[in-house]
């Protein structure tokens, strides 16, 4: 597949876009995905990228750090350009007012019209979806759940970031910037593709059954019919006061056939616990313990490389909590190096989408 990446660390967005345009040279892109640091004005970033590549479908979002082949970056713009022959089709739709409305169905009407196939009948081996969503909207679960109702194709993606300011995050499409919004893209790649979901946790035997929850607030009131904070602290083997120190290394997860779907605690408020993603009453969760991000990611990449018989490009959505852990352990360079030699772009997210809305996970699309 003919994929080219570029990045710029120029601090002025006009210069950064010019730099990227120069790196891509005469490459005729059909689609261009970009992730831009929140240091850049979102309106200008979207407009300048759209203007610089008028013949391409452009979309992207703001970040909490960027990833490009071999490197983890900050305050940069990273771009992946797809040639005309690498995609049989692409259609991008913007969902606005995601916190109150339900714009997903309308977007899927547009996908059906464009691809002349009902979304429910789309072949998961022929099409894939990308979801980029306002990372402060709290609407991820509702959007991805509705997408999952409408189609069997895989939608993966990330929640836009703003370099840990938690002030405003933006998604971009065709020259415009949006907040309280999501961008959905359906791609029909010309060649094979695969998905990677990797998280560095293994399930522990301690079970936490969600017995009382405030779904709208992503708040668990009770685990195992006990105040959530007390039950969690008991499971971890520490005090409630110390429990937040264990959140990074001991989140909880839905475990399906041995594979954890990680849900990260955010804070304790009184006896209840707030999470970074939604939890339903009746869910049986396992306490998780952290493993080695570098070794696990390396293994996941090797498996994908073997499955696809070579990778020509990766788009990765890497949880900001993983990025922070890598920074704390001095492993950021080592992590970036895992992607050396593979055209890669990605960003540090405020949440990852893979079937559901997850945390502390890296989700990737790998193109043959």
């Amino acid at each position: 597949m003919n994929i080219k990446t570029a990045f710029s660390v120029e601090s002025d967005i006009r210069e950064a876009v010019a730099d990227i345009r120069q790196q891509l040279g005469g490459f005729e892109a059909k689609m261009l995905v970009f992730f831009a640091s929140s240091i850049f004005d979102p309106e200008r970033a979207a407009r300048l990228m759209g203007n610089a590549f008028p013949d391409a479908v452009t979309f992207g979002c703001s970040t909490a750090g960027e990833i490009v082949s071999g490197r983890m970056l900050n305050h940069s713009v990273v771009v992946m350009a797809f040639s005309r022959d690498s995609l049989n089709g692409v259609k991008v739709e913007v969902l606005e007012n995601i916190t109150t409305g339900n714009p997903v169905d309308k977007a899927f009407d547009a996908f059906e019209q464009h691809f002349q196939t009902p979304p429910a009948a789309m072949d998961r081996k022929k099409y894939l979806g990308i979801l980029l969503i306002d990372g402060l909207s709290g609407a991820e679960e509702r959007v991805i759940d509705r997408i999952g109702d409408l189609t069997n194709i895989n939608f993966v993606g990330g929640s836009a970031g703003d370099d840990l300011k938690f002030s405003a995050t933006h998604v971009y499409a065709n020259g415009k910037s949006y907040t309280n919004a999501a961008v959905l893209a359906v791609l029909e790649p010309a060649g094979p593709f695969s998905f990677i979901k990797t998280q560095s946790f293994s399930p522990l035997p301690q079970k936490l059954l969600v017995t009382k929850v405030n779904e709208a607030k992503r708040e668990i009131l009770e685990f195992n019919h006990k105040p959530a904070a007390i039950a969690y602290a008991e499971a971890v083997g520490t005090s409630v006061a110390d429990a937040p120190n264990r959140f990074m290394s001991n989140p909880v997860g839905l475990v399906f056939e041995g594979d954890p779907y990680v849900l990260s605690p955010q804070r304790i408020m009184g006896d209840s616990m707030h999470f970074c993603c939604g939890v339903k009453e009746g869910m049986e969760l396992n306490l998780l313990e952290s493993t080695d991000i570098i070794a696990d990611t390396k293994k996941a990449l090797e498996a994908a490389r073997s499955e696809l018989a070579g990778i020509s490009g990766i788009i990765t959505f890497n949880c900001i909590l993983r990025t922070m852990e890598l920074e704390q352990k001095g492993q950021s360079d080592k992590y970036g190096e895992l992607f050396a030699g593979i055209p890669t772009i990605g960003f540090s997210t405020y949440g990852e989408q893979f079937i559901g809305h997850l945390n502390q996970t890296a989700v990737m699309i790998a193109f043959h």
Binding site: R124, G148, F256, E257, Y261, K280, E281, G282, M283, I355
Partner: protein, 67 residues
Amino acid sequence: MAGNIKRLIDTIVTQRAHGDKILEGTVKIKLILKGIDPKNYTAQSDDDPVVMGKLQEMINEYKLNTE
């Protein structure tokens, strides 16, 4: 009555996955994320009307056949 929840879950999984084993897993995870864990229901499970209502709503939404 018992076992109808499992029957409805099987209908959803079978008809949405069309025999694709990977899709079967995906459909089950989607159900778990909606708060209904297929492994918790057997042919002997009581017919909880709330859970059955949720599943029937999905079956109608997906336009599945329950005959």
